[in-house]
Symmetry: D2
Subunit: 154 residues, 4 copies
């Protein structure tokens, strides 16, 4: 159990995204970052003759972990919500979970940790894709600044 949903419900300003959808994405991202960090390390513990084949998977795990962690932090901040920035980071996370999910899927049959990690990446990628249409597209950024919470009523 995480506090993500409850934290959203007690937020003192308006959030322009459905709470359920947003908390699902954040939880998927933090869980995926953990799975990727653990999968990279599990790969490093595989027998010596397996290691070279796993080098790319390890690297994709590390990129995905770093990007998911940063994206979860960005989505956990709602003040001054800037759709262009959020969208660009979400797009990077979609690419990272896709790349890592594909890498891990190649080793799913040999390594159970890769199968689980691929599953976590795919779920996260899907949750991110579901979020995109709800982020105000860059083009409509005209009205964005005025929606920024900390600028209201100051």
């Amino acid at each position: 159990m995480t506090y993500t949903a409850q934290m959203l419900d007690t937020y003192p300003a308006e959030i322009n995204l459905e709470h359920d959808r947003l908390s699902r994405v954040i939880d998927a991202l933090t869980s995926c970052a953990q799975a990727c960090t653990a999968c990279a390390d599990a790969c490093l513990s595989e027998p010596a003759d397996e290691l070279p084949r796993l080098a790319r998977c390890i690297r994709d795990n590390l990129d995905c972990a770093d990007i998911c962690t940063a994206t979860a932090a960005v989505l956990s901040r709602h003040t001054g919500y800037d759709a262009r920035l959020t969208k660009a980071q979400v797009e990077a996370a979609i690419q990272a979970t896709k790349t890592c999910g594909d890498s891990c899927a190649e080793h799913s049959e040999q390594h159970e940790h890769c199968r689980l990690c691929a599953q976590s990446c795919q779920e996260t990628e899907q949750a991110l894709r579901d979020l995109v249409p709800h982020l105000t597209p860059s083009g409509a950024g005209v009205q964005q600044p005025h929606q920024a919470a900390p600028q209201q009523g100051i």
Copy 2:
């Protein structure tokens, strides 16, 4: 639902810690990092006359988020497990969750997000404290290097 416990169960080398205990700590840390990031941002959205009083809380939130994220990553790696390093980082996380939990608790009655964040910090601090006796103490580090998974059988 996270993948932490399942990732531990599919780890290809031995882990010198009870899986349940370890996965509980990792999940508490990632959840606490998220709650702290969200709480810092919620504080920034409070009315102007509340902000100065919350400055310290925001700073403690940010420290706690960074430290919990790093600690979760360190605990998610088991290869070459080094008790001194793990213990030192766990001690830092105990201090960070204690400091932030105390800070947030001061504002629990005024701000529901601070109450929730304090609760997450306290739970995480407790989970970390429960882990410490199970980490081989620094003094016994003599036998540590030989337990390092990737060095065995290579």
Copy 3:
């Protein structure tokens, strides 16, 4: 003095980017992440009546710090270099440094730390923009996988 350039020169595989350009971007990103973290904290230390006006700046600082740190890590990995992933993360960092640079620039006259942070953001944004044309565009990804270092000769 950082080790970035030297680390690039001792890399055991080929790197498809000019070393000078790449090390400049990485150094700009890590420096910008530090400046943003420090600027957020400096804003929190400003007099009470200044704080509300700085809330958005603080939030942009935090987003920019997280995104620059993740981007520096991704660019510091060259194994299995995936142009689409790298490009998406670089685009997110361009947006983050632009957003934060603009936010800080609004307070440059009142706060010297905002002026310095805006300068760091602008330099980093420029370094990132200079890198983009040298990242193989997504469309040309066909030949990408074969350039991935760990997949060669395996």
Copy 4:
């Protein structure tokens, strides 16, 4: 060139540490985090028969990178400076740079990237050790809370 020293000089509140010493530590930490990330990836690009021997080094690199990044962020925040928290995190970073420096030093003759990374770890460890006596020891924490910048004059 980084902005660390300049950011310190424009900080709007008092900092209870010598600016030169502090900025040197922060710069060493961010540089070390980058070197460790790059060294882990360089290790992954070494020939297949070298990889198993480097697994532990890679893991130590990753731990050290995560811990140095978090420590640099904590030291870049001066508001509400809490000596116990700062000291605990600095101690963890001393252990991380020591462990990783030792690991990399074992491969210094074979791998130039390990030699450079070991050097960065050792410099950072030394800079951190030089800082410790200047952090008010935990025992003297009595007067700490009152030094916290955001609590003054509020």
